[in-house]
């Protein structure tokens, strides 16, 4: 077989990679960074304890004044262990988190629209890292910090390491490590309303923290044991339950949760994400391309950052469903809307425009 033929065949090996898988990989990296930090702190603590024990022994046995000085000098190597492991690592703290990168900030600026996120940031004086939440702006000075909306008009900023400057209502507040401060947000970019009615008490809530910590298999088992009342009819809860189902290997069980978000919470900004995820589950895991195409169509009709991927996946789904007319029309639409789109090649292929 000619060599060029292999290369063109190789180009057809293309995984279904999109923003959802990107997000999961980012979460995994952030978790590993966190585990590494914990391990390093534990190691440092052991070293420090050993040094203190050795120093105490030296002090007791020699009874000299130099022993204390030895302890101090040997302890200093602990300091570099707190150095950041990456330039910027962002962890979404809840499924309702909506965090959008700011254009022209080179990955060092985000708008927090809802939920909360944790940031591990190394300081770069020339490219300050900023997070904007409504009319509050947080600027890092080399740190690890968390920004979270406890309610639509309040923002909690918690600093674990280093310090940040918060610009709010014309005043600058510097927050040091170990401090939590709350700020009023008078014009939140997007307020996610809390449910107006009191949530029904779930039979057991043990599945929720498991799912939030990425232990999806255990969360799925706990969810099964807890029964049908364990999931509240709220977008965040439904999305979390869907994640627990599909990421533990039960994609079919994720479908009703996602459909519920799409149908009953269509006004929620996360419903387009639910539609997109539903499309992926139906297309990639359940082999139901016709329904998947409709789900992707709903996701793109909401616009936003998912629209391009949703249209591309809709072309693919229509093609797989055998609806060549629809896939061709959609592929032309994609070419018109995104002439330099990231998925242009795949769209042309599925739309029969090659």
């Amino acid at each position: 077989m000619p060599e060029r033929k292999w290369e063109s065949l190789g180009k057809k090996v293309e995984p279904a990679w999109g923003p959802e898988r990107d997000r999961l990989v980012r979460v995994g990296i952030a978790r590993r960074a966190q585990r590494r930090r914990v391990a390093m702190y534990a190691g440092a603590s052991v070293v420090a304890l050993a040094v203190v024990a050795e120093g105490t022994y030296a002090f007791v046995s020699v009874r000299g004044t130099h022993a204390r000085a030895d302890v101090a000098s040997v302890s200093t190597p602990v300091a570099p262990l707190s150095a950041p492991v990456a330039t910027v690592i962002v962890t979404h703290l809840s499924p309702e988190t909506i965090l959008e990168p700011m254009p022209d900030h080179g990955g060092r600026g985000f708008v927090l629209r809802s939920g909360g996120a944790r940031f591990i940031v190394s300081h770069d004086a020339e490219h300050p890292f900023v997070v904007v939440a409504g009319d509050v702006m947080i600027e890092d000075l080399g740190t690890t910090f968390t920004a979270q909306y406890p309610s639509a008009d309040r923002l909690d900023v918690s600093v674990e390491e280093g310090h940040v400057t918060v610009h709010a209502r014309g005043a600058d507040t510097e927050i040091a490590a170990g401090t939590v401060r709350q700020f009023a947000v008078s014009s939140p970019a997007l307020a996610i309303d809390k449910p107006s009615r009191a949530p029904t008490a779930p039979a057991t809530s043990s599945w929720r923290p498991l799912a939030e910590n990425g232990r999806y298999e255990e969360a799925h088992t706990a969810l099964k044991n807890a029964g049908p009342n364990a999931v509240r009819d709220e977008t965040a809860d439904l999305l979390l339950a869907a994640d627990a189902a599909r990421l533990s290997g039960y994609p079919a069980e994720a479908v009703p949760y996602l459909e519920r978000v799409v149908r009953a919470h269509s006004g929620d900004p996360r419903s387009s994400l639910a539609s997109f995820t539903l499309g992926r589950v139906l297309l990639d895991e359940l082999g139901r391309p016709r329904e998947a195409a409709d789900a992707f169509a709903r996701a793109r009709s909401a616009g936003g950052p998912l629209a391009e991927d949703a249209l591309a996946r809709e072309v693919e789904a229509a093609s797989r469903a055998g609806d060549t007319a629809r896939s061709r029309d959609l592929a032309r639409e994609y070419q018109m809307l995104y002439p330099r789109g990231r998925r242009a090649k795949a769209v042309s292929r599925f739309g029969g425009l090659d």
């Binding site: 090996v13 995984p15 990955g107 599925f350």
Partner: protein, 181 residues
């Protein structure tokens, strides 16, 4: 007179001039899809492994971001790291296969391929599964990914002559199967 347009592809000025430390978010945004595609071609099947490979590669990138001089050279650096991560995974997969009764099903992620192309790809990866891992990777980088010999040698961490020898060895085996294709 040449009919070629007097144009050549150059890197974006921002990429070349940046010179400073590479931003992890920019690196991830620009190359996560590339790493996933490269890993998919090298692995052949096992779509579920892809997320782990991409995570391993970018976890290393996050820790060694200071060693990546700029976004252009980042591509080669990521290709080398991806090849190493995939190599480990293929070796592990081969070891696990010793304890399985039958061969693993070949499920190549090529949704845009025709049925005939699917069959050729499945047969190809069957042949590749039987080759030594280093030989398989060198051939895949050269012919499926379309990399230059120098890039294959760099990604595999071997000399140019070793890369050529590995590619040749794989080619002989593959040609035996696809002689009539």
């Amino acid at each position: 007179m040449s009919t070629q347009p007097y144009l050549r592809l150059v890197a974006r000025a921002s990429d070349v001039v940046s010179g400073g430390p590479v931003d992890f978010e920019v690196l991830f945004e620009r190359y996560s899809g590339y790493v996933a595609s490269l890993a998919a071609r090298l692995l052949g099947s096992g779509d579920s492994d892809l997320d782990d490979v991409v995570q391993d590669v970018f976890w290393l990138a996050a820790r060694r971001i200071g060693k990546i001089p700029d976004l252009i050279q980042a591509r080669g650096w990521l290709a080398t790291v991806t090849t190493r991560v995939v190599r480990r995974r293929l070796l592990r997969r081969r070891f696990r296969a010793l304890f399985h009764a039958g061969p693993r099903p070949i499920d190549v992620p090529a949704s845009g391929a025709t049925a005939e192309e699917h069959a050729v790809l499945a047969r190809l990866y069957q042949v590749l599964e039987e080759l030594p891992t280093d030989i398989r990777l060198a051939w895949s980088l050269r012919y499926l990914e379309g990399e230059s010999l120098e890039a294959v040698a760099a990604a595999c961490g071997c000399s140019l002559s070793t890369a050529k020898r590995r590619i040749g060895a794989a080619k002989n085996e593959i040609d035996k199967v696809f002689r009539d294709a």
